[in-house]
C-alpha cells in the first residue's frame, strides 16, 4: 500500500529566495531514501515540499510537479490536510504536545480525523506504540505527560503519533540529530521495521546513518551561499558511498568538502 513519490523539476522559494532548484527524483514504495548534503543545501526544504509543510511559512511557494501515485499534490483541488495525513512527518526535535499525555499524543491525529470510539483508539494507540518500539516502555504510564519521556522515547512517541494515522509515506527530518547514540540506534532499528509498510524519506547529516539505513541516497549541494540547492547525484546507497559518479559527491563523502 505504500506509495511512490515522484518529483519533477521541483523548485521551492522563500519569498524571492530560491531555496532549491528543479529537483527531480523518484522514490519507490517501501524503500528508505536518505537525503544528505551540507547545511543549507535545501534537503529539508525539499522534504517539507513533499507533504506541503513548506507552504506553512509565510511567503513560501513552490514550482514543478510532485506526485504521489500519479496524483499531483500541488493541484488546486487537492486537500492539503489529506496530503499531510497521507504523508506523515517526523521532525528534527521531538515535539510531543506538551499538554497531552502519552496516550493522547498517539491518538491526536486519529481524534482529528473524527475517530471517537474508545476501543478503536485504544487499539490504535497500542498498535502504533508497539510499531514504534515504545509500547513496553510506556504501557504502564500512558496517562503521564508525553514531555516526561527521554529524548529518544519522545522521538519514538512522535513516530508512533505519525504512523497512528496510517500514512503511506513517512518523512523524517534529521530525526536523530537531537538524540544520543543509543537512542539513535533504536530509531534506526525502527526504520528497518517500518520499511515493510511505509515509504520512508530521511534527511540526515550523519553519513554513516545514511549508509546504514537507506536503499537509495540523494546528495544535495549548493555552489555558494545564496544559490539554490541542487540534487547532484541520486543513486543506490551502495554506489553513492563506494563509487559515486560525481566528483562533488566523492569530495563530500570522503570529507574533503562541507
Amino acid at each position: 500500500m505504500a506509495k511512490r513519490i515522484e518529483a519533477s523539476n521541483v523548485s521551492s522559494y522563500y519569498g524571492n529566495f530560491k531555496a532549491i532548484d528543479s529537483i527531480s527524483m523518484t522514490v519507490e514504495p517501501k524503500t528508505i531514501t536518505a537525503l544528505i548534503g551540507p547545511s543549507g543545501c535545501g534537503k529539508s526544504t525539499f522534504l517539507r515540499s513533499i507533504n506541503r509543510m513548506h507552504e506553512v511559512l509565510p511567503g513560501a511557494r513552490i514550482e514543478g510537479r510532485l506526485t504521489i501515485d500519479d496524483q499531483n499534490i500541488y493541484d488546486p483541488d487537492v486537500d492539503v490536510t489529506a496530503v499531510r495525513r497521507l504523508i506523515g512527518m517526523v521532525f528534527q526535535r521531538p515535539n510531543p504536545f506538551p499538554t497531552m499525555s502519552i496516550y493522547e499524543n498517539v491518538v491526536a491525529g486519529l481524534k482529528l480525523n473524527g475517530v471517537k470510539k474508545k476501543s478503536v483508539l485504544d487499539d490504535a494507540a497500542e498498535q502504533s506504540l508497539k510499531a514504534a518500539n515504545l509500547w513496553n516502555e510506556v504501557k504502564d504510564r500512558l496517562n503521564r505527560p508525553g514531555a516526561g519521556l527521554s529524548g529518544g522515547q519522545q522521538q519514538r512517541l512522535c513516530i508512533a503519533r505519525t504512523i497512528a494515522v496510517e500514512p503511506q509515506v513517512v518523512l523524517m527530518d534529521e530525526p536523530c540529530s537531537a538524540l544520543d547514540p543509543i537512542s539513535t540506534l533504536a530509531i534506526e532499528d525502527l526504520m528497518f521495521k517500518l520499511k515493510d509498510r511505509f515509504t520512508i524519506i530521511i534527511v540526515t547529516h550523519n553519513m554513516q546513518q545514511a549508509a546504514r539505513v537507506s536503499d537509495k541516497t540523494g546528495f544535495f549541494s549548493i555552489d555558494k551561499t545564496g544559490d539554490p540547492g541542487r540534487l547532484i547525484e541520486y543513486d543506490d546507497t551502495q554506489k553513492i558511498f563506494s563509487n559515486p559518479s560525481e566528483k562533488k559527491t566523492e569530495d563530500y563523502i570522503t570529507g574533503r568538502f562541507g
Binding site: I73, D75, V78, V83, R85, L86, L110, N113, Q127, I163
Partner: protein
C-alpha cells in the same frame, strides 16, 4: 499483522483520493445574500426590530448557512474550520465598532468647544447659563499632579527595578516582584482611599491647623501608588535586556557595581525605561477617582499643588458630565478630546520610542 491491513470501521483513514471539492465563491456569496434576504424578511416581515437586528441575524444565518453548505461540499472538518475562521474575523469587527464610535464621538462632539477660551479660562464664576468657561485650571492641575507623581515614582520605580535586577536574590526579591505585579491591579479608587485616610485625614492636619486639607499633592501621592508598579516592571524588563558582558566588562576594569549600574547599565536601557515611564504617565493622566477623592476638584485656578482643592482634566470631564447645565456636555467632550489627545500622544510616542530601541526584541 500490520496496522494498515487492519480495517478500522467507519473511518476513511487513508483515502487514495486526496482531491476535494472546494466551495466556489459564488456559493459563498449566494449564502451571504440569502442570509441577508431571509434575515430582512423575517425581521421586517414580522416587525421584530430594525436594521440592526437584520444585520445581526444576517450574520448568524450566514454562519449557519455556510457551515451547512460547506459541510455538504467540503466535509465537516473544512466546514468547521471555515466557521471558526468567520467567528474569529467577526470578533475583530465587533471590537472595532465601539472604538470607531468612541473616536467619532470624541472628534465630532469635542470639536465644538475647541477654542482659545476653553484653554485660556477656568470655570470660576461660570453659571449654568454661561456657554463659555474652560479647562485651564484642570489642565494646570493635571500637569502639576502628574508631574509631581512622576518625580516621586520614577526614582523609586527605577531604584526598585535596579534592586530586582542587580541586587535582588532569594525569597525577598521574589516576594517583591510578585507584589509589584499584584500592585498593578490595585483599583485606582483604592489608591485614592489610601491617600485619603493616610495623607488627607491624618498627615495634612499637621500642616493646616488641625484641619484636613485636599490638595493636588495628595492626588500626586495616589498617582504615584498607581504609577510605581508599572515603572518598576517596565524598567526591570529593560534592565534585564542589557547584555551581561557589558556589566562584566565594566567590573573587569575595576569599576564598582553601583557605578557600573549608573554609568553603563542605565544609559543602555534608557530609551526603554523612558518608554515605560511615558506609558505610566499616560495612564496616570487619565485617572479620575483618586483626584476626586483627595484633590476635591475646583472651579478656579489653583497653582499651588500643596494647598487647596485642585481639579484635573479627567475630573473636569467627570464633573461636567454630571453638571445639569446644557453647556456642560460640550465642555465635557472637549475636555475628553483633550485628555485622549494627551494620553494618545504620550502612548504613541512611547511606542515609537520603543520600536527604535535597539535593546527590545
Amino acid at each position: 499483522m500490520s496496522l494498515l491491513e487492519r480495517e478500522v470501521s467507519g473511518v476513511a483513514m487513508t483515502p487514495d483520493n486526496i482531491r476535494t471539492r472546494r466551495l466556489p465563491l459564488v456559493a459563498n456569496l449566494g449564502t451571504a445574500v440569502a442570509a441577508i434576504v431571509v434575515a430582512a424578511a423575517v425581521v421586517l416581515g414580522l416587525d421584530l426590530g430594525n436594521w440592526v437586528l437584520v444585520a445581526v441575524l444576517a450574520v448568524v444565518f450566514y454562519l449557519i448557512g455556510i457551515s451547512i453548505v460547506a459541510g455538504r461540499v467540503e466535509g465537516r472538518r473544512a466546514a468547521r474550520d471555515r466557521m471558526w475562521k468567520s467567528l474569529i474575523y467577526s470578533a475583530c469587527v465587533l471590537a472595532i465598532l465601539p472604538l470607531a464610535s468612541v473616536v467619532w464621538t470624541l472628534v465630532s462632539k469635542g470639536a465644538s468647544r475647541l477654542d482659545g477660551d476653553f484653554f485660556g479660562t477656568s470655570m470660576n464664576n461660570i453659571g449654568a447659563r454661561d456657554p463659555n468657561g474652560g479647562a485651564y485650571h484642570a489642565i494646570i492641575g493635571t500637569l502639576e499632579q502628574v508631574g509631581i507623581a512622576t518625580l516621586l515614582a520614577v526614582p523609586l520605580g527605577v531604584l526598585g527595578a535596579i534592586y530586582l535586577v542587580e541586587y535582588g536574590k532569594g525569597r525577598f526579591a521574589l516576594t517583591v516582584r510578585f507584589f509589584v505585579d499584584v500592585m498593578t491591579g490595585i483599583p485606582s479608587i483604592v489608591a485614592g482611599l489610601f491617600v485619603l485616610s493616610f495623607w488627607v485625614l491624618i498627615v495634612s492636619p499637621w500642616f493646616n491647623d488641625g484641619q484636613p486639607r485636599f490638595s493636588g499633592f495628595a492626588a500626586s501621592l495616589a498617582l504615584t501608588v498607581l504609577m510605581l508598579p508599572t515603572i518598576v516592571r517596565s524598567t526591570e524588563e529593560m534592565l534585564r535586556l542589557v547584555p551581561g558582558p557589558l556589566r562584566e566588562g565594566s567590573y573587569a576594569l575595576g569599576v564598582p557595581q553601583w557605578k557600573t549600574i549608573v554609568r553603563i547599565v542605565l544609559p543602555t536601557a534608557l530609551p526603554g525605561i523612558v518608554t515605560g515611564i511615558m506609558l505610566a504617565v499616560a495612564r496616570a493622566a487619565g485617572e479620575t477617582a483618586p483626584v476626586l477623592l483627595v484633590a476635591g476638584g475646583a472651579a478656579a485656578i489653583n497653582f499651588d499643588p500643596f494647598a487647596g482643592n485642585q481639579s484635573s482634566l479627567a475630573l473636569f470631564v467627570y464633573q461636567q458630565a454630571g453638571d445639569a447645565s446644557r453647556y456642560a456636555p460640550a465642555r465635557a467632550w472637549t475636555a475628553a478630546l483633550t485628555l485622549v489627545a494627551l494620553v494618545l500622544i504620550l502612548t504613541v510616542a512611547a511606542k515609537l520610542l520603543a520600536r527604535r530601541n535597539r535593546l527590545s526584541r
